[in-house]
């Protein structure tokens, strides 16, 4: 219900393509799956837009709601940044989780939202993603995770680093019990998220042209002391180097996910 209201609320807003600077209505963009109708650029999508795009109509039920970040280190500027991010996105933090069906197949899903503090991972993001895996393990269903992140949320100090381990432990458990995990790497997936659950999928898909890497481009340039190719750390680059299974255009994503889920149906319980 809330979701339907949300969809209606944003329909008349206007958005500008970052590449060609043309302006489009949300309604128009939604129809085009947020691929710029003018220049073809894949625009970044908010978490709820993404869910709306891929799951079966009215199948999404959000869980792990009502969690919000605490500035427990009293880190300079953190409280302010949180308030701004909450106000501008209407979200509690940088990830939305729930269960849904895709092509009729049940799954748990998490979607990171780069509009919220560049989807950096602090306690809330780590906790919600961990709960998604724990829910899916308990219900023996696949997890589909849309990753996007600038990395760990340094304003939470070492506790943000520990989220990488916390989530990885939950991924491992889900995996050990024979469950499927599909990651969809979206723009930008970097740092601690790349170095943990983004790269732990059984099947790793990526959106065309998405930035995917571990270290920041500037740091790499300084270390390597040479010009990097234009496509460095793009989805195409990681596919070429063997770190993604496939690049899937947005308009094919539902079909691809449905097929993969169908091929992993559990007809027989092991043991």
């Amino acid at each position: 219900m809330i979701f339907d209201k949300w969809i209606a609320a944003f329909s008349h807003e206007k958005l500008t393509c970052g590449a060609c600077k043309k302006e489009f209505s949300v309604k128009e963009l939604r129809k085009a799956l947020y691929i710029c109708p003018e220049c073809g650029k894949y625009m970044r999508i908010g978490g709820r837009e993404r869910i709306n795009q891929v799951v079966d109509k009215k199948s999404f039920e959000e869980f792990a709601t009502g969690l919000s970040s605490v500035d427990f280190l009293e880190f300079p500027g953190y409280a302010d940044k949180l308030t701004k991010a909450i106000d501008s996105t209407g979200e509690d933090d940088a990830v939305i989780c729930g269960h849904a069906t895709i092509g009729g197949h049940p799954c748990a899903i998490f979607v990171m939202d780069a509009r919220f503090m560049m989807a950096s991972m602090g306690s809330v993001v780590g906790e919600k993603i961990t709960r998604t895996f724990e829910y899916a393990t308990e219900h023996h269903i696949p997890v589909i995770g849309f990753t996007a992140s600038g990395g760990a949320r340094m304003q939470e100090g070492i506790i943000s680093l520990m989220q990488m381990a916390k989530c990885s432990a939950a991924v491992k458990k889900h995996s050990t019990e024979g469950n499927l995990y599909i990651t969809v790497l979206t723009d930008p997936t970097t740092g601690g998220v790349t170095a943990s659950f983004a790269m732990q999928g059984d099947i790793i898909l990526a959106e065309p042209n998405a930035l995917v890497g571990f270290a920041g481009r500037r740091v790499v340039e300084q270390t390597t002391k040479s010009q990097l190719p234009d496509n460095f750390q793009s989805a195409e680059f990681i596919l070429e180097h063997g770190f993604a299974d496939a690049i899937v255009p947005r308009e094919e994503l539902i079909d691809t996910l449905t097929t993969i889920l169908k091929l992993h149906r559990k007809e027989r319980v092991a043991g």
């Binding site: 340094m154 070492i158 270390t223």
Partner: protein, 272 residues
């Protein structure tokens, strides 16, 4: 000492590096090389040895002791092949029921273009995940600098020790200052804000034990570590695999401080 002074101390010449700890703690050492995939990485020194009658696999990030060795080890920044070598040895340890002891001392994983080409992110991700599922006891000791994901890749263990003046951080204070304040010279402030000292790690529950440093009598320091390792490994080796894994799961599950429907949650109680 301020947190930043501690950090600078971990980078100083003359501070013992991984290899010194290995030589000081383990007997019957056999060094093992290579990831069997791509290359040997000198930034990771690994092999088999023993603590009294317990055979162990040791894995250390080695910074090097002079310019020549530091060039060879990339100043203690492991490449993907280094992490894959570490993982190979962990899996081998699991097969033979040997505990794994890691020594961590790095500013972070290697950040060059060839590291990205060979999947630095994937290599670290795989290490963290597999280490958390490893069916044999694991202990990690941060001996100098515990830098970010590159350190966590060898720190996802049953027990973590911190050397007295070692630091552990999600990002280098220099990196933090330049991202947040566009001013790397404010690293001192960042180090303060980030909470990176051994005492901080203990109060967060990130580390269980702090090892006193007496580098003038390094054999004494090694004897303390050896005694602590023996005690912890003996206890961990008694656990059934299921209990070992579920205790390790809970060790990491507890991390996080957040509000849920108005109530502050997270089992780590921490007050500034």
């Amino acid at each position: 000492m301020t947190p930043y002074e501690k950090l600078k101390m971990t980078r100083q010449n003359g501070r013992p590096t991984g290899v010194a700890y290995i030589n000081g703690i383990f007997d019957d050492r056999i060094e093992l090389h290579g990831d069997r995939r791509f290359a040997e990485d000198a930034a990771i020194i690994s092999g088999i040895g023993s603590i009294d009658d317990i055979p162990v696999t040791y894995i250390a990030i080695e910074k090097g002791v002079d310019l020549a060795t530091r060039m060879k080890t990339n100043f203690g920044c492991p490449k993907p092949e280094g992490y894959r070598k570490a993982l190979r040895l962990m899996k081998q340890a699991e097969k033979f029921g040997r505990p794994v002891v890691c020594f961590v001392d790095t500013q972070g994983a290697f950040c060059g273009a060839d590291g990205e080409e060979r999947g630095q992110g994937e290599a670290i991700a795989e290490n963290i995940m597999e280490m958390l599922g490893l069916q044999t006891p694991t202990v990690s000791i941060v001996i100098g600098e515990g830098g970010s994901g590159g350190a966590l890749a060898l720190c996802s263990a049953d027990r973590v020790y911190m050397m007295e003046h070692a630091v552990y951080s999600v990002i280098s204070p220099e990196g933090c200052a330049s991202i947040l304040w566009k001013d790397a010279s404010r690293a001192e402030d960042a180090a303060q804000c980030l909470r990176i000292t051994a005492d901080d790690m203990k109060s967060f529950g990130v580390a269980e034990t702090i090892i006193p440093e007496d580098f003038d009598n390094f054999d004494v320091t090694c004897a303390v570590i050896k005694k602590q390792l023996k005690e912890d490994l003996t206890e961990l080796l008694k656990k059934k695999t299921d209990a070992l894994l579920s205790d390790r799961y809970m060790r990491f599950r507890k991390f996080g401080i957040y509000e849920e429907n108005g109530e502050t949650r997270g089992t780590v109680a921490y007050s500034i």
